[in-house]
Amino acid sequence: MVDKGMTLLATGQEATPRGPVTTGRGWRSLSPALVAPLALLVLWQAATATGLLPEQILPSPSRVVQTFAELAASGELSSAARISFWRLAVGLALGGSLGLVFGLALGASQRVEQWVGPTFRAFAAVPALGWIPVLILLVGIDEMLKVIILTKACFVPVAIASRDAWRAVPPGYEELGQVLGLSPSARFLRIRLPAMVPLIFGGLRLASGQAFVSLVTCEMLAATEGIGYLMIWGRTLFQMDVVIVGMIVVGTAGIALDRTLRLLEHLIRKRMGEDV
């Protein structure tokens, strides 16, 4: 991310040819992007309508829509989504804030890095899949398990991003703060923190992606509720329409969360006066 910024700076000298603007072109820029999904939908409908693929392998789009409506109407979908999103929110909040503090400590202090860094990297290397078998014996299958797994999933990318963000703050900014005679807290709050915003948000977005993977993993492997469980239940009942509804919900939610974080970053940076 830093590298990209620097290339942009380096080429800023020339009148950079402005690439095609992807936003603000209305339907004309959107239409090519719609070709593929529409084609997929047509193929899908054709494959199921002609009986090329049996229902238990690939249910028809209309079947999926119907199941979606049924699950939504019965409240199963919203209660599954509610529990999943709650877990996600708790994980992001806990893991994100712990990761931020820990990552800043790693970035700021050589000593923290030396004593705790290697353990942190080993800890980070074990995916949710590895934690479940051990944790489940220690804390059971209740909510605590998911909270720990998701917290860990969010903690790691945010910690790494915060550490890198701390280190990526141009030394010139720190010097500026010193030359201006600012207090350490002012140097942190007024200079370092704003300078770190883009990288930290990068970490948050990675964290949200990770959180989704871990959420689905642990709901599929060790849960009795949630979207991941709904999908596994669909597999058990041999109802692929339920599975596909789950995938759609997970995918859409993933996109939505990513966009929300981007928007939030955009707003914050814009408020801070950056051209984003």
């Binding site: 049996p54 059971g140 299958i141 492997l221 041999f238």
Partner: protein, 324 residues
Amino acid sequence: APSTIRLGDVGFGFGTPFGVGLQAIADAKGFIAKEFEGTETTVSWTYFTGTGPAINEAFANDQIDFASYGAVPNIVGAAGGLDTVILASTQGTNIFAVARPDAGIETLSDLKGKRVALQKATIIHWAALEALKDAGVEESDFTLIDLKNADQLAAITAGSVDAVFGADFLLPLEQKGIAKVIFSSARDNPAVSGFGGFLVSRDFVEAYPDATQKVVDGYIHAAEWLADPANRDEAFEIWARAGTPVELIARSNADTDFAEAYNPRLDGEFERRYHSALEFALEQKLVRSTPDLESWTDGSFLNDTLARNELDTVWPERTPAVSN
């Protein structure tokens, strides 16, 4: 004739999973392979971990021709559009319930208000609800938690649940002092033992009726061998290959009469149980509609085998109990 006949069954164990049912016997003792001796046809086995859904998927993807598995998952499969045929009845799964020693649970009726784990949409699910109903506990009286086998062990160890319904994989818990057995179907209520069917895909049976007959022959020979009490210990040795110690298997089957438990007949008792499972599947919303049992079952191969080998006396025809 087909070049390979692919059989599937439920399996466990490290490395290559191994079966713990009648097919494991047929496999280990070569009963089915013997039927095809001297022909081009070979026989292969896949033991699926993940049980019911995995076997349904294997049928759907044309990865197996024959399989034996629980009635509930095979009803789910048939309702989902799998075109299979039931060739024989299978039973023998001893269902256990274990409870945390400190939870004050002695019998099934103590489970009122407790958290009970089991794997839903399996025959254990059916058996547990039936057993509890017989003990006067309704579904609304306890909290049911859907967990896979390994998670059940962890959950009761960590105290997340009070009791678990399952098969013999629960027995090590008692050995380790983590839980105690409060129910065994073979001992306490044989009517709720696990059961299922030996199924073939309709495509296969229509294309190769002769080969199907031979497979059924071999399968029944395995059942016949198992029915002989002299072979019990050898059977335990075969099943132990899946990783469970022999002593545990022996204990799990202590109350089981194999001749009775592995009765392959598609008789009145078979019908009663399947009807019960069909009703259960519908009630529990596991299926959107139920398959028609009569057209799903084909007893001709089994009857032919029994008649040719004069085996009618080994497994007496059971009359249906009064349906409730």
